[in-house]
């Protein structure tokens, strides 16, 4: 009986082999965090599938290519809550998936990276922008697709300096990530020759982001908060927590532009970006997801496309070969940014141009003209090789 069964299997394998070999299956996991952050602007409120929607589009794109190479890509999506044991969930996900795209806070990502270290599963960080993940806390099994805070701050800093807006009034929020962003902006000012004329902190005293009589009060608060500042060209706001920055444009005491967390914002993607063939992916994305594409969507798309690209280049379903190719100098990916994106070999951070968008239009793309580098102009953004604290292992 048992032998008969084996015989049948062998026969069916031969039969299918005669028709067409079964496609090579490439399984990609997506590990995101549950719940979306609350934003000041209703139109910027992320969708439930923020990020995942981008990965889904990349899986479609990979499969269109895959049908010519007999490769098939799947996406296995899991969301974790703060109370969940993220390491255990990731280990379960890694049992069926060779690669995991993550959208997790820094500490959770490190837990997952360490839990999966011995399995050889590679993580593609699409969500966390913390520099420490690429510096003192870097890991050999984490590829960073999201830009860092310092890359974002440098992209903005280069433009403001190019524009000759060199006197900055820096206003930062009172939460930890606001302070980290303010650090990155200070660093950018020093690197590119801008001057922070004064710093102010906007304390988060709690309170709802949406109120029926909100505007009247804000209109009185913001001018008062920004008055009596020394002469400055631009107000730079560090407010990742979405507490105040979007209240600033048009409400500053002095008539000055706002940049950073509101006004002119550095970002990896914007729904208005249409250069370098980008309109094609924007159209594909809207068709598939019935909404516009965000930066997180693009970061997840790029992560899943990187796996697709390396799989088609190596023509292999063997993760070891694919990962070796991803980390090799031959790897590059096209992502509608006008140049090929490559990995920094010292910390596995994806080099990428950064868009500067105002919510309606893409105003500019950094690196700016004239910011030169001996290896790649993209390395004028963020922490460069000589300064790195990363020792990959």
């Amino acid at each position: 009986m048992f032998r008969w069964l084996i015989g049948t299997i062998a026969l069916s394998m031969m039969a299918s082999g005669a028709l067409a070999a079964d496609p090579v299956e490439i399984h990609i996991g997506y590990l995101g965090h549950a719940g979306v952050k609350s934003t000041l602007s209703l139109v910027q409120q992320p969708a439930d599938n923020d990020g995942i929607a981008g990965a889904r589009l990349a899986i479609e794109d990979n499969n269109t290519t895959g049908k010519f190479l007999n490769q098939r890509f799947t996406l296995d999506e899991v969301k974790v809550k703060d109370s969940d044991d993220v390491a255990k969930i990731a280990t379960d996900l890694a049992a069926h998936n060779d690669y995991i795209i993550t959208d997790l806070p820094a500490d959770a990502l490190l837990k997952v990276a360490d839990a999966l270290r011995d399995r050889g599963t590679v993580l593609l960080n699409a969500g966390a922008i913390d520099d420490r993940l690429r510096e003192q806390d870097c890991r050999g099994n984490v590829i960073h697709v999201a830009p860092t805070r310092s890359m974002l701050a440098d992209a903005l800093g280069q433009y403001l300096v190019w524009k000759q807006w060199k006197r900055w009034l820096l206003v930062s929020g009172s939460h930890d990530q606001d302070k980290l962003y303010a650090d990155a902006l200070r660093r950018a000012a020093t690197r590119f020759g801008a001057k922070i004329v004064q710093e102010r902190t906007f304390e988060d005293t709690g309170g709802a982001r949406r109120t029926d009589s909100g505007v009247t009060l804000i209109q009185r608060q913001m001018p008062v908060f920004t008055q009596q500042a020394p002469a400055y060209d631009v107000l730079v706001a560090a407010d990742e927590s979405e507490v105040f920055a979007n209240y600033l444009p048009y409400r500053t005491w002095d008539p000055r532009p706002v940049a950073g967390s509101a006004g002119l914002v550095p970002t990896s993607w914007d729904a208005a970006h249409d250069q370098w063939g980008a309109v094609q992916i924007q159209n594909r994305f809207v068709k598939l997801n019935m909404r516009r594409m965000t930066a997180l969507d693009m970061q997840a798309w790029t992560a899943a496309r990187m796996i697709g690209e390396a799989t088609s280049r190596t023509n292999s379903g063997d993760p070891k070969k694919v990962i070796a190719f991803l980390k090799s100098p031959d790897f590059s990916i096209a992502a509608f940014k006008g140049t090929r994106l490559t990995l920094r070999d010292w910390n596995l951070q994806l080099r990428q141009p950064i868009l500067l968008a105002d919510g309606r239009m893409v105003v500019s793309v950094s690196p700016q003209e004239g910011f030169l580098h001996q290896v790649s102009e993209l390395d004028t953004l963020g922490v460069d090789r000589p300064e790195t604290k990363c020792k990959l292992q």
């Binding site: 269109t64 063939g277 140049t339 790649s376």
Partner: protein, 322 residues
């Protein structure tokens, strides 16, 4: 005296220029216009208003019409070369960019960037007669000299698809470097050249074995690698010399088509896109997207001899008898 001398000089120069007056049509992607240039005087003779985002542009085989893909209007417009006015449109499918025709001028194949298809159009009936599913973001289109194989390149799939023109089935897929944009056969059919904009190379493909046999690589001192983005390709009829437009490198590479080595780089305008030869092959005209002009290259001396201002963001170009 000086003026007379100059005048005489000009007359001599004019007399020396052979009566090879051709007409070049340039599509201006942002201007929504087509610029008409007389190649005898190198002057703009007319600017034709067309649909939105004109890019791919080509003469019909009989020379009576110029067809221009206006991507944002989802159609191809037909310009009568006698009146230089739009007389018709073709059912191209969504977002047409580049297209090619068979030798008889009866069938047209259009790359539709938005829905991963190549649309087949009967030019006599002006009707859409079929679709072929290809990779993500189809772009470059060409047909083999014997008319049997249609080539389409797909920008995100990174392949050259070989399509049998009789069965309209894909017979082979060849992986090339990132973002393949343009495909060009040698006139003897021995090689297919495919430019990869982001990869920064031109792949040489054996059209029989369907394998990449070599690559043209580019290196320009003082210019960072990422700025070298090959797009348009032009091949002389004797298959000896190829010209490759290098996008934001602002140069056209002159390539020995036998050894696949770059012979020299010609500085042209900013962000050079596409090109076409005058039918006598004395000149090559290239479009410069960012500087809004067209550079004229003298083939014999391999020098840029002229720059002509055109419309906003010139993209494609086609040249033929008036």
């Amino acid at each position: 005296m000086w003026r007379r001398c100059l005048l005489t000089g000009m007359l001599v120069w004019l007399a020396a220029t052979p009566a090879s007056a051709f007409v070049a049509y340039v599509s201006n992607e942002k201007g929504n216009t087509v610029t008409v240039i007389d190649t005898n005087s190198w002057t703009v003779t007319k600017t034709i208003k067309v649909g939105q985002r004109p890019r791919g542009i080509e003469f019909s085989r009989d020379g009576k019409f110029v067809m221009v893909a206006v991507g944002d209007d989802d159609t191809i417009q037909v310009i009568d070369t006698k009146t230089q006015e739009i007389v018709d449109t073709l059912p191209s499918g969504p977002d047409p960019e580049l297209f090619t025709q068979d030798a008889a001028g009866k069938t047209m194949y259009v790359a539709n960037e938005n829905d991963n298809t190549v649309t087949v159009i009967d030019l006599e009936k002006r009707a859409r007669i079929g679709d072929i599913q290809v990779g993500v973001e189809p772009e470059g289109m060409t047909i083999s000299p014997d008319g049997k194989i249609l080539i389409n390149t797909s920008e995100t799939t990174n392949m050259a698809h070989f399509i049998d023109t009789t069965t309209r089935q894909i017979v082979a897929n060849v992986l090339v470097d990132s973002r393949p944009r343009f495909a060009q056969f040698k006139h003897d059919g021995s090689e297919l050249w495919v430019s990869s904009e982001i990869g920064g190379t031109v792949s040489i493909i054996d059209p029989v074995k369907h394998v990449v046999t070599g690559k043209v690589t580019f290196e320009i001192p003082g210019l960072r690698n990422e700025a070298i983005q090959p797009v348009g390709i032009g091949m002389t009829k004797d298959d000896k010399i190829a010209f490759v437009a290098l996008g934001p490198a602002n140069r056209v590479a002159v390539v020995d088509a036998t050894t696949h080595k770059v012979l020299k780089y010609l500085l042209v305008g900013q962000r050079v896109w596409h090109m076409d030869f005058t039918p006598d092959e004395k000149y090559l005209m290239v479009t410069n997207g960012v500087s809004n002009d067209v550079s004229v290259i003298d083939i014999a001396s391999q020098k840029v001899i002229k720059t002509i201002q055109v419309g906003e963001l010139p993209w494609g170009i086609t040249i033929a008898q008036p």
